[in-house]
């Protein structure tokens, strides 16, 4: 264990600690792909909010490869994979009383997504 010392703190804070992983991992999806968030309900940690599960979206951007929280939070290592910005139409998430124009963008990992049929 490494104790944080005052003299090291400013540099450490300025450097931060990225979750990005320098690993060559193939992406399952590309911008423009239609996807659907999986029907999954882990009892452990996840960063897929309930409101987005099973909803259809479109890959807007591939952010690159990052540690996967669902594994990393449980001592299973970073399990690096692509994270995408996925665009969801407000009406696809909340139904017809939502704005027809608005959208929600959520950052989701490869393992949360299936290709839409």
């Amino acid at each position: 264990m490494r104790i944080l010392l005052a003299k090291d703190t400013p540099a450490l804070l300025r450097k931060g600690s990225t979750a990005r992983v320098a690993a060559e991992v193939p992406a399952k999806f590309a911008p423009g792909d239609r996807v659907i968030v999986r029907n999954f309900h882990p009892h452990g940690h996840t960063r897929a909010p309930r409101y987005i599960r099973c909803k259809p979206g479109i890959i807007d951007r591939d952010h690159g490869v990052f540690a996967f929280p669902d594994a990393h939070a449980h001592g299973k290592g970073p399990c690096p994979q692509h994270v995408y910005s996925v665009r969801f139409a407000a009406r696809d998430v909340w139904g017809d009383d939502a704005s027809p124009r608005d959208a929600i963008y959520i950052d989701l990992w490869d393992d949360y997504l299936d290709p839409a049929g």
Partner: protein, 103 residues
Amino acid sequence: MNGVHDFGGMDGLGPIDYETNEPVFHAEWERRVFALTLAMGCTGAWNLDMSRHARERTPPAEYLAASYYEIWLSGLERLLDETGLLSRAELDARVAALRAAAD
């Protein structure tokens, strides 16, 4: 986890309570909890994902009633106990001792 922290789309939580020119910290104990959490996070005893999950496991009624740094405190105590660095029993004993000294 399908926990109470997963607020997106939840109803009934009331209006947004905006404080004009709010201070970064509202009390000294908040400063301490903030700093202790970051300092312990830097030890490598756990990672950020573990610390988020520890906060999420704050019992629901407590989570909903708590202020932000109370949730951080809850998460920190949970992690310290689960990693064996500081048991709840030892912390409770020290709290009792401090209370006795203050009375």
